[in-house]
Structures are given as structure tokens and as C-alpha cells.
Amino acid sequence: MNSLVLLILIIAGGALLSYFGHKINKILGNITVFAVALIIPIYWFTQVDFTETVSFTVSGFHMELGYNMYGKLFSMIVMILSPLALIYAIGYMKDQKKLATFYFSFLFSILGMTGILMSRDFVSLFIFWEIMTWSSYLLVIFLGKDVQKTGIKYMVFSAIGAYAMLMAIVIIYKNTGSMMLSDYFGSFAGFTLQTKLLTGILLLLGFAVKSAVMPLHVWAPGAYSNTPMAYTSVFSGALSKMGIYGLGFVVVNLFAQANLEIVGYVLAWMGAITAVLATFSAVFQHDAKKLLAYSSIAQLGYIVTGIGIGTELSIMAGLYLAVLHAAFKGVLFMVVGAVERQAGTTDMNVVSGLARKMPFTFFTALIAIIALAGIPPLGGFVGKWMLYESLINNSNFLMVIMIFLSSTAAFLYCFKFLFGLFLGQQEPEFDHVKEASPVMIIPMLLLSVFLLVTGAYPGIVFKYVAEGMTNLGFHDVNWQMSVLTNAWGDSVNVQHVYLSVVVVFVAFLIFITWRGYKHSTKISTKDISSSGEMIKPEDNMTYAMDFYKPFQRVLQPILKWKINKYYEDFGKGLEALFDFMRRIYTGNGQTYAVYVIIFLAILLIFSKSIFGY
């Protein structure tokens, strides 16, 4: 049997098995989920033949499944992150109900993503896209928080995106007579400008919704923060990348080939604006989940910018960041989940000082945050560097400044995240908090190790990125294991950086620990220099509320402008319109009869213009 079909069947079967397993009994269900989480990636890495294709004709549409290297790159994200998140979920969701639905939807969204990445035609792409959408919708509203608002918002935006894509698909089908992606790419140059723009931009719209580009991002904060965190790490880490995947081939394979780089350029600008505004929003969140949600949007903004610019280095940066973002955002959402589970809240105004209670969680969070902030020597820096260099090489100086503003401001929320949850004074009400269970810690640690390794050897990611880029038309992508080079020949050797940092760090670690650490006593966080004031243990002296008030004052004019509100007003306006429109059904039977007669009269009067006589 074809290995691709088998893969789909394995995931679907896994979903059903987990569903029924959990219907029967929790332990059986968890064992099933664990087994499925192991089998899927093992099968993918060892058995799947990436050269294989399978095609069939359904309802007159020719459909074909088969990997290309570009899809394989994204599949790797899915296949590594999702099983880890599944394993994490076993610990995280232990006390939840309706687990059968949870794992069923979870695995179906994996199925959707897997399918998208191996689709070679639009019909199967769309089918899997929609499967992914509804399964993730079920997870967004899973906890029952804010169902009507967040859930509907997510679904509406997803639907708008998906339907834009569907519209593009049928127009493409009309113009090419084929549903194959390759036929579309091949005949794109022959289209009229109007068709080019119409199909391309509609496709872009569809993908942009999932990657939360600025005016279409409003679903993301709520959806990311209301979903069970075990899934959010996949949601933000892998599912949003499906949008990036699509944007990549539309911008590069279509518009750049057809000398319409302007579209990519506009997209890049939207990405940059997204990055800046989302970062500003993230800085002022006091719920760690919301903070990460906005941060995800901002990070996706970088990636979109990288893809949009469309040079070799920038696409490499975008794809590399996509991989890295999956890793560090995966960890961070898991961290928040662990905190939520152990401490009961993720409100950074309330919780504080958990670092002493949850050291492993804190360690992984620290690694992930350093990667997210793009600080050397961890892997995040590599992506940032390539992005900046590609922008500078292209002389997109305004965009550089915007990205830079965004990533500098990102330090603010990065620190706030760590400080809010893990540092500050340790309060008595959180004394009971314990470290999360190993099932949750191990996936986080594994991903952190990946982040540490990419700091010195980003080449392990470059290898797959470069492979993937062959499908975008960049054949001899120049990459080295640990030396980054830009278009002007300037380079950074990250291995040297790593070396320098480690050597100095270790040297001074010995220096400072020697005859110091052992003799000093570890004291409580309540024991601080307070200029003579006595601090009682129950006094919470942590400075958390309005952490960046001064910055907020500076940004007042920008923050006033809330796009969400416009959408909500628009929605309310529409609802009022609908309410008005349905008043034509007055409830009076006679009125309906009058409608009929009026309609008849109108038709008779205008029969000449309708029927010609």
C-alpha cells in the first residue's frame, strides 16, 4: 500500500482509537494516545517514501498526493512538535473531561496539516485545510470559555480565508481546467493581469488569515489563549505555519516569477506592521497566555516579512524562523500550560516567584525566551540575523527599523514573561506549587535542547530549509553548518560566538562560585534591603501591576487605535442590518400575500425588460 495513504490512515485510525480508548477508560486512552504519538513520527521518519505519489479522480477532479521538499520541511515541524505536544497533553489534560473529543480533534488537526503538506492539487489542499480548521475550532472552544466570541471570531476569519481560497480555486479551475498546483504555476504567466491578481491575492488572503497577518489577526489572541495549552503549542507552532507554507509558494512561485514582486513587498510590509503592533500589544498584557498569543502574531509577522521580500537570504530567514518559532513557541505555550496547571492561574499580576518551585519549567522557559528574543548564542539569533541582513542588503531601511523596533520592544515582554511568572517574590499562596510531572517536562526539555544546539549548529536546520527552497526555485542555496553569510559577503561565525560565550561564562562561573557559593546562605525573597522598613512575609512586594506604564504613556496614541473594535462594530452593524432585513417577514399572512401580488405585478410591468416582450 502507498505509504502516504497509509500515513493518513494511521493518523485517522489513531484519532478514532484515541477517541474510543478515552470513551472506555482514561488509562487505556492515555496509553493509546502515547502509542499513537510515538508511531506517527516513527512511521513518518522511517517508512514514508517522499518520492512516492498517489493520485485518484473523485467527482471529476483529479487529485494527487505527494511530498515535495518544501512540504517536507513543514511536515518536519508538524511531525516533531505535534507528538511532543500530544505526550505533553497526557500530563496536562489529566484532570479534564471530554478527553475523547480533545484527542480526536487534536489528531484530526494533525491529519489536516499532514494532508495539506502533501497535497499537489487544490481540492485535496482545500479538503485538508478545512479539516484542520474545524478540528482546531473544536479545540478553540474546548474549554467553553468565551465560546460565542472567540470561537465564532476564529471560525469567521477561518471561513473568510478558506472561502477566499475556494474562490481562487474555482477561478483557477475555470482558467486552467485542472486542479493541479503545478498546472496553475505553469500557466500563471499566461493569465491576464486581472486573473493573476485575483487568484493570487485570494489565495494569499486565505493563507494570510492562518498566519495572522495584521488586519486579519484579530482571531488569534483569543483563540491562542483559550485553547488548552497542549494544543496551543501546535496551534501557534505548526498550524499557523500552514499559512506561511502557502504564502511561500504563492509569493515566490507565482508573483515573483511573474514580475509582480510588488505583491510580496506589500505582504512584507504588512508583516512588519503586524510585528510592531502585535509586539506593542504583547508588552501590555497581564495574562501570560495573551502575551504569548500576541508574541506569536508578532513572530509570524517576521516570518511573513522574510517570505514577502523574496530574496534567497530572506526566504531562508523566514523558513528558518518558522522552524525555530515552532520550537520556542511550542515550549513557551507548554510552559504556560504547566504553570496554569500547577499554580492555577497565568495572570502575571497574581502569580510570581515560581522559579524556585518549578526549576525545570523555568529553565526551558529561559532557553525559549532567549531564542525568541533572538539573543545570541541561541538559535533564534540566527534567524533574526538573516532577516536583518536580507532587508539591509535589499536597502529596505524602513522595514529594518520597524523589525528592529519590534524586536527591541520584544525584550520588554520577554522579560515580563519570565519575571511575571517565575521571578519576583515567592508568595505563601503559591507554596503548594510543585514541579510539573515528567510527562510534561520531557517534551519541553527536548525542544529546549534543540534550541541550544541550533545556536551553534544552525546548519542542521539549514539543510532542510535549503532542500525545501529548491521547490521555490532557489537551487544552489549557500549554507554552512555554523557560518552565516549575507549577500555582501559579511559573515558571522556562530560557533565562535558560542565558544566565546561558553568559555567566558564557565571561567567566571568557577571564579564566582569558588569560595563564594558554598559559604553564602540562600535566603527567602522576602529578605530584601528595604531601607529599614520591616517587610512581613504576607506583604507582596512584587512590582507587577502596570509593569510598563511609562512605555504605555509613550505609546498612548497608537494604542488607542484598536482594530478589534472596528471589526466588532462592523459585526454589530451587520447584525443590526440582518435584524432589519428579517423584518420583511412580518408574521402577517396577508402581508406575505401582498408580497406575492406585488412581485407578480413587478414582473408583469417589467416583463419587457426581463423577457424581451
Binding site: 531601511f397 527599523i401 519575571f419 560565550v501 557559593y517 512605555f551
Partner: protein, 302 residues
């Protein structure tokens, strides 16, 4: 090529040089400010004494691993940055690793230490530290913008992103970049006091009301390491400015002269100005300095 031992020796020597020069600059600044304020002031080697005294004091308390690591992060950052900044023009002896990094890298590595210190400060549970950190990071967002604009302008104008590349440009044309790209220089110069956190941008430490802010819970070896790191970092920043805008230096004496001249600018400005509130300083940085940064960018791009 020289052996690895030679490299290590160079690195150690560079570090010692940076430490000594930075310490003396600190001493001089204290002395100068004191004279301006009509005080006698401490001797110029006072900083050495402080560091040594602290070094031999017994560290008695710690708040946990993050607290322990914070000074390490700072010094790691300072020295690593130093390794990647060319100290002298021909750069045979003090070259260290400066061909392995470029300006974007330097911008980022410079933040590394601040984050480390911020985390260390946060882990103490002292509200003053947290307040200081929050102010410091906010202010950083302020001054980074004109500073980055200036650097991006240089990079775009001369089509190179490495410090050595820019230095080569200067040595070939014989003109310092502060004259050939004046707007970038102005923007960078206006952003500079923020980087040094001298008055009017000293609200981060604010010794009077925040008990020195982030470092208020550090003592003994920790504080001595932090001070060392601060001196080295001051030297690194000055050297970077000199490398970028003033043609670098061909020998140590020229280097000291140039850096000291440059150093006097934030010190003297600080001596005569009152403190800005955080949002005021951010607004200041996003005002004129950013405006000059823009002009520099436009100048560079067209």
C-alpha cells in the same frame, strides 16, 4: 597563522586593557563631575579600590541560581562583545574574533547582558530592582531606535555590515564617517547618553529612590564582577563608536585619546542636566535623534 595560545593571550590582554581603561574612565568621570559640582571628589583610582574591596568581601547571601548567574551573564556579554569589536586598526594582535561577527550581531549581543542582569535583579524579589529593570528596558527601546537607524544608514551607504568593513572604508577614503555621514553620526551621538545611562537618563539606577535599582541586592563578589563588566562594556562602547565614526585607532595612545574625548560628551552633558522621567526620555529619543536617523537613512539610500 598564529597558534591558539597566541589568540588566548591576545584575548586576555585585550580584556585587561579594557578593564583598566574603563576603570580609569570611571574614576575620571567621578572626579570631573565632582569638580563641576565644586567638590573634591574621589581619587581616579577609587574604582579599582572599590572593586578590589568587594572582591575580597565574603558573599553572604544569594537568592538562587538566577541571582548567582546575573553577574556572570553581564561579564560574559561584555567580554564577548569586546572579542568582536576591533580595538586597533591593523588588528593583528587585538583582532580576537572580530571577523566572526558584524554590526547586527553586536547590537544583539549587547542586549544579552542587560537581560541577564534584569533576570538576576528580578529573582531577588526587591521591588526596586524590578522597577529599575522596567525603566531600563523601556529606555532601551527608546535609544536603540536612533542608534540602529544610524548604523543601518552606514551599512546601506557603504554596502557592508561588518565593523572592519566600515573601518576599511574610512582608511581608504581617508575621511572619518562622522564627516562623510554626518546625520548618522548626529543620531548616534544623541542616542549615546542613553546607552551610558548617565544623567539625564539615569532613572534606571536612580540611587536616591531605587537604591540603585537592578543592582540593589548584589554585593561582594557579585557586585565587583558587575562593576568590572561595566567598565569593560564602557570601553567597548566607546571603541565601537570610535571604530565606526572616527576612523578607529592605529595605536593605543590614539585610541585612548579618541575614546576619552568621546567619553567626555555624555559625562559633561550628564553633569549639567536633570533627570528625565522614563517616558520623557523615550519621547526624547524618538524625537530629534530619530529625526536625524531618518535623514541619515534617506541620505544613505539615495
Amino acid at each position: 597563522m598564529e597558534g591558539i595560545g597566541y589568540k588566548i593571550l591576545g584575548a586576555v590582554l585585550t580584556t585587561i586593557l579594557a578593564f583598566v581603561v574603563g576603570m580609569f574612565y570611571g574614576g575620571f568621570s567621578r572626579k570631573i563631575i565632582a569638580r563641576i559640582q565644586n567638590r573634591v571628589g574621589p581619587p581616579v583610582w577609587q574604582n579599582f579600590l572599590d572593586v578590589l574591596k568587594l572582591l575580597f568581601k565574603k558573599t553572604s547571601v544569594r537568592y538562587g541560581l538566577m541571582h548567582h548567574f546575573a553577574p556572570l551573564w553581564m561579564i560574559t556579554m561584555s567580554i564577548t562583545t569586546l572579542m568582536f569589536v576591533p580595538v586597533l586598526n591593523d588588528g593583528l594582535f587585538f583582532s580576537n574574533l572580530n571577523f566572526s561577527g558584524d554590526i547586527i550581531f553586536l547590537l544583539y549581543i549587547m542586549v544579552f547582558g542587560s537581560l541577564g542582569m534584569a533576570l538576576g535583579a528580578g529573582s531577588t524579589g526587591n521591588p526596586n530592582s524590578a522597577i529599575g529593570v522596567s525603566r531600563g528596558l523601556t529606555q532601551m527601546v527608546g535609544f536603540e531606535i536612533p542608534w540602529v537607524m544610524a548604523l543601518v544608514a552606514l551599512m546601506i551607504q557603504y554596502k557592508t555590515t561588518s565593523v572592519t568593513g566600515l573601518m576599511e572604508v574610512q582608511s581608504q577614503s581617508g575621511t572619518w564617517l562622522m564627516f562623510s555621514s554626518p546625520f548618522a553620526f548626529i543620531a548616534a551621538l544623541l542616542a549615546m547618553p542613553g546607552m551610558f545611562r548617565y544623567s539625564p537618563f539615569d532613572i534606571v539606577g536612580a540611587p536616591a529612590e531605587l537604591a540603585s535599582g537592578p543592582i540593589s541586592e548584589f554585593g561582594g563578589k557579585y557586585l565587583s564582577t558587575m562593576m568590572t563588566s561595566g567598565s569593560i562594556f564602557a570601553f567597548v562602547k566607546l571603541t565601537l563608536y570610535v571604530d565606526l565614526f572616527m576612523g578607529g585607532a592605529s595605536n593605543l595612545i590614539v585610541l585612548v585619546l579618541k575614546t576619552f574625548t568621546l567619553y567626555m560628551y555624555p559625562v559633561l552633558w550628564g553633569a549639567v542636566s536633570a533627570r528625565f522621567r522614563t517616558e520623557q526620555s523615550v519621547r526624547y529619543f524618538w524625537g530629534w535623534p530619530t529625526f536625524f536617523g531618518f535623514i541619515a537613512l534617506i541620505y544613505a539610500a539615495f
